[in-house]
């Protein structure tokens, strides 16, 4: 399914906007085979498959970790391994480290210095900062402004050229702070449990699913999770992010939770499931209520499509206002919008007086399982 969709999008990308980015900026950023490519460094940015040399900003783009040389943060590599998709040649770049790559002669030659900055979004998610003789390019990747307890805030890095992801760039998207959305989701779970109903929260994993697990366990709510969520939780724990105890669905609850309620056969745990889990299947056992926790949950159709009873805008992306703020604060003279509603966002930025262009590509999160 993933491969088929990707092919379709490549088709769209090819007839897209290569001409719109006339110069490709200082390092020759362009679209190549439907992927983002820094021509000057021979470096692919979050490609959808293995490439000779690739930067992988976060674990949702882990497919690219199979390539000959992949560069990523330590955490992204570790999460990638837990998802089972990392080649031997993949290299971790330390948060305080740097890597030098030669710049192609046609683009002026010399050396570029590559380093990382936190992107928010997901544990280990990194922005790529490229310092070169003519300035600085930042590939922000999937970026979010605020921490959610499992990842840091996204940094704002001053630069000349900024590449931003526009998954939620339309002005209809406005997200509350993650802390508030997570608290609302946890409150909802608590109310359902009190009502003898098993709460099930659908959320992307790794990502918001782990933030929800952490929020629930920190309040003492016992949590069970589907296998995909538990695998990622284990990887988080190994990386030093404490999420608390998570049982498998159907296993007995931890000893502390075996209280009077559970002896009466009442639901004892909240369930956290990956966003692709089918609500209808999760409802199979007993009284169940399903919530969808995602940036998409601000849209009725998305909630309806998940057949969910409740929706929480637990977003791991910047919304429209946060993206505009990022662009302004970065001081970038040139902005490339990509992966989402790039064209519309570039147009809106242009109205704000920012020189912005669009490279139309599908969001990384839409790639589906590889």
């Amino acid at each position: 399914m993933g491969a088929r969709r990707r092919r379709a999008w490549r088709g769209e990308a090819r007839c897209g906007t290569l001409e719109d980015v006339a110069d490709g900026g200082a390092l020759g950023l362009r679209m190549q085979d439907g992927e983002l490519y820094l021509d000057g460094l021979g470096l692919w940015l979050d490609p959808g498959c293995a490439r000779p040399l690739a930067f992988v900003s976060h674990a949702h783009a882990a497919q690219a970790l199979c390539g000959a040389h992949a560069i990523a943060s330590t955490e992204t590599l570790a999460l990638g391994r837990s998802l089972g998709a990392v080649s031997e040649a993949a290299r971790a770049l330390a948060w305080d480290g740097a890597l030098e790559l030669p710049i192609a002669r046609e683009l002026g030659g010399g050396t570029a210095r590559l380093s990382l900055a936190p992107a928010g979004h997901l544990l280990g998610a990194a922005q790529l900062v490229v310092d070169h003789p003519r300035g600085r390019l930042v590939y922000a990747g999937d970026w979010s402004p605020e921490p959610d307890g499992t990842h840091a805030a996204g940094a704002i890095v001053e630069c000349d050229e900024l590449v931003v992801t526009t998954t939620f760039a339309l002005p209809i998207f406005r997200f509350p702070p993650p802390s508030r959305a997570l608290a609302a989701a946890a409150d909802w779970c608590a109310v359902r449990l009190g009502d003898d109903t098993t709460p099930v929260v659908l959320a992307q994993t790794p990502g918001p699913a782990q933030a929800i697990v952490r929020e629930l366990t920190s309040r003492g709510v016992p949590v069970a999770a589907t296998d995909d969520v538990r695998r990622a939780c284990a990887a988080y724990e190994q990386l030093g992010v404490a999420l608390g105890e998570v049982t498998a669905r159907g296993e007995p609850a931890p000893p502390g939770a075996a209280d009077a309620a559970s002896r009466r056969g009442r639901p004892r745990t909240a369930v956290v499931a990956g966003a692709s889990a089918r609500a209808t299947e999760l409802r199979a056992r007993g009284r169940t209520a399903v919530a969808y926790a995602s940036g998409w949950a601000v849209l009725d159709a998305a909630v309806e499509q998940k057949r969910a009873d409740a929706a929480f805008a637990v977003a791991d992306h910047a919304d429209h206002d946060a993206l505009v703020a990022l662009v302004r604060a970065s001081g970038a003279r040139r902005v490339v919008a990509t992966r989402g509603d790039a064209r519309v966002f570039a147009r809106l930025l242009a109205e704000h007086g920012v020189d912005a262009e669009a490279l139309e590509l599908p969001p990384i999160d839409d790639r589906g399982a590889s």
Partner: protein
């Protein structure tokens, strides 16, 4: 409007039909407790996705493009941004509300009252210019909170889309005012406007619901003979030719006003002036049920295609009138000068109908056809076959069998009226749920349609049709389906279930590919049924009945090819909308 919008939004968010009903009922009861009949009627209409009463002849003249302009002004975003937002949300109304929510103080706005909404509807209907309508809308939306914006925009756009199927609003009205559901449903077939119905229910007067000349009642419907499980008593039925036209309910008030309503209860009077003129010449009040059909100079019915140029046209041109003259072939009379006749037996209604039509000139565009009875001593099937053949030879589609002793039951589809359309195969009314571009000459247009029938409150696919439409019709479908696409899956577009097609086919087979467990063999589109709402499409039971009839007649065997009902794949409705979000 605040209370109503909150109730409708709660109904949208609830999954079960009962919970949806309860949410709407709560809002209606709260409105009834503190507001007048106008407010309550408006609330019930908005909840049904409209602002004018059902059967009201006036048009709002508020199209998508006008609403679009209003959204641009109200939010300050340009066309490209608003369209991208509407595409992403799948609906203009929701995008509008989300964009309004960005405006400082929007949540604290005073709001629009239900009385404001009623006045807005009246003012829009009375305002002839687009600019004037736009100003009215802009004034109203400037006061609306984001949630009010969403539901007012939906109602003006003509659809709620809160997952509330037909009957949920009736259930809500019954619950809000403590009326037994069966009584309310019966009243609803006579008082088809939800606003009037809610007002009657509040007053505890649903028993007084009665046909009123000028207001449409629900049409009585016929059941396909394939779906009739037990034998009919041939002596109890009369036979009428089944006319392949547009079903119409024609009202002539005592004062001379004429209104013609189509199946969807929309007023189509202006489209058929020759029929309206003939009705005006009738000396007294009456309500006729019949079928409008194009006729040749000799008076023979012409195929449905001949009627096409008269459809979808509010006012036909002189050329249309000359080239495709129509007549109303009346087959029932629901009221006359003496009052409603619904409870009278068919035989009595028929006698009155014939007397009425005799009073018209033979050239008039209102006619009746003769009826026949089956010869009592012949075997039923044989006699029916002969009558069917004769009807086909006269140029009609088939037969309708009607119980001679039965009353007219609005909205009812039962054994009282039974239709016979084809000797073996038949057609079904199906809803388009997905579309794809064709190949070759049909590349770039949406020419392949996946269609579905109802199973409970869900639509389940039963096949895919590629043929039967002209190039012009395909172009029109492409535009419609483009506008209703809510998800793209590569080349496949999932579309909101709004278009009803009548499809012919060669039979039904078991299928593991379609969510329904059945597939139609060689389906082809007979026509687009714009006169039918998606809720009126056929149900899976009809498909199953055809399959079982085939089995019974030896045309097909029970065994499933590639998996039976128990191993059915997920229907299209469960395809993921926003990607699987998995790495």
């Amino acid at each position: 409007m605040k209370r109503l919008a909150a109730g409708l939004d709660a109904a949208r968010a609830r999954r079960s039909r009962t919970a949806k009903e309860a949410a709407i009922a709560g809002a209606l009861a709260a409105i009834a407790a503190e507001d007048d009949d106008v407010a309550l009627a408006t609330a019930a209409r908005v909840a049904s996705g409209r602002v004018l009463p059902v059967g009201d002849g006036r048009a709002l003249g508020v199209g998508w493009s006008l609403l679009f302009d209003v959204v641009r002004t109200a939010t300050g975003f340009d066309e490209e941004v608003v369209s991208a937002c509407a595409r992403k949300a799948g609906e203009l109304a929701e995008a509008f509300a989300l964009l309004v929510a960005r405006i400082d103080g929007a949540e604290e706005r005073e709001g629009v009252s239900l009385r404001d909404v009623a006045q807005l509807a009246e003012a829009l209907a009375a305002e002839p210019t687009r600019a004037g309508k736009r100003a009215l809308l802009e004034r109203a939306f400037a006061r609306a909170t984001p949630l009010e914006t969403k539901y007012l925009c939906k109602a003006l756009g003509g659809g709620m889309r809160i997952g509330a199927q037909e009957g949920v609003l009736e259930g809500a009205i019954a619950r809000a005012f403590g009326v037994p559901l069966e009584r309310l449903r019966r009243a609803a077939t006579l008082v088809t406007d939800p606003g009037d119905l809610a007002v009657l229910a509040r007053a505890g007067r649903v028993e007084e619901a009665r046909l009123r000349v000028g207001r449409p009642v629900a049409f009585m419907l016929a059941t396909p003979i394939e779906s009739i499980a037990t034998a009919l008593d041939p002596t109890a039925y009369v036979l009428e030719d089944k006319i392949d036209g547009v079903r119409a309910q024609a009202h002539r008030a005592a004062g001379g006003d004429v209104a013609i309503f189509a199946r969807g209860l929309d007023r189509v009077t202006g489209a058929f002036p020759e029929v309206a003129e003939a009705l005006r010449r009738v000396p007294s009040a009456l309500v006729l049920d019949g079928e409008i059909v194009a006729v040749s100079p000799s008076g023979r019915p012409r195929p449905f295609q001949a009627l096409q140029r008269r459809l979808g046209r509010a006012q036909p041109s002189a050329a249309d009138l000359a080239e495709a003259p129509v007549v109303l072939i009346a087959f029932d009379v629901l009221a006359d000068a003496s009052g409603p006749l619904l409870d009278r037996p068919w035989t009595e209604r028929r006698a009155r109908l014939e007397a009425l039509v005799r009073s018209l000139a033979p050239t008039d565009a209102v006619r009746v056809l003769p009826t026949v009875r089956l010869p009592p001593h012949e075997p039923f099937d044989q006699a029916l076959d002969a009558a069917f053949g004769a009807a086909r030879a006269r140029g009609y589609e088939g037969l309708v069998l009607k119980r001679a002793d039965a009353p007219y039951e609005p909205g009812r589809r039962g054994r009282t009226w039974v239709k016979v359309k084809h000797a073996h195969a038949t057609t079904l009314d199906v809803v388009v749920v997905a579309a794809e571009e064709g190949h070759g000459r049909r590349a770039g247009v949406l020419s392949d349609y996946t269609f579905a029938v109802w199973r409970g409150d869900d639509l389940v696919p039963v096949g895919k049709a590629y043929t039967g439409l002209t190039d012009d019709e395909i172009d029109a479908m492409t535009r419609r389906l483009d506008a209703t696409t809510f998800e793209r899956r590569g080349g496949l577009r999932l579309v909101r279930p709004e278009v009803v097609l009548e499809v012919a086919f060669d039979g039904v087979q078991r299928s593991s590919r379609h969510g329904s467990g059945y597939a139609l063999r060689f389906p082809r589109i007979v026509r687009v049924r714009d006169d039918k709402r998606p809720e009126e499409a056929d149900r899976i039971e009809a498909v199953a009945a055809i399959f079982d009839a085939q089995v019974a007649s030896g045309h097909r065997e029970h065994g499933a090819r590639g998996g039976g009902r128990g191993r059915v794949k997920a229907p299209a409705a469960q395809l993921s909308l926003f990607g699987d979000e998995e790495p």
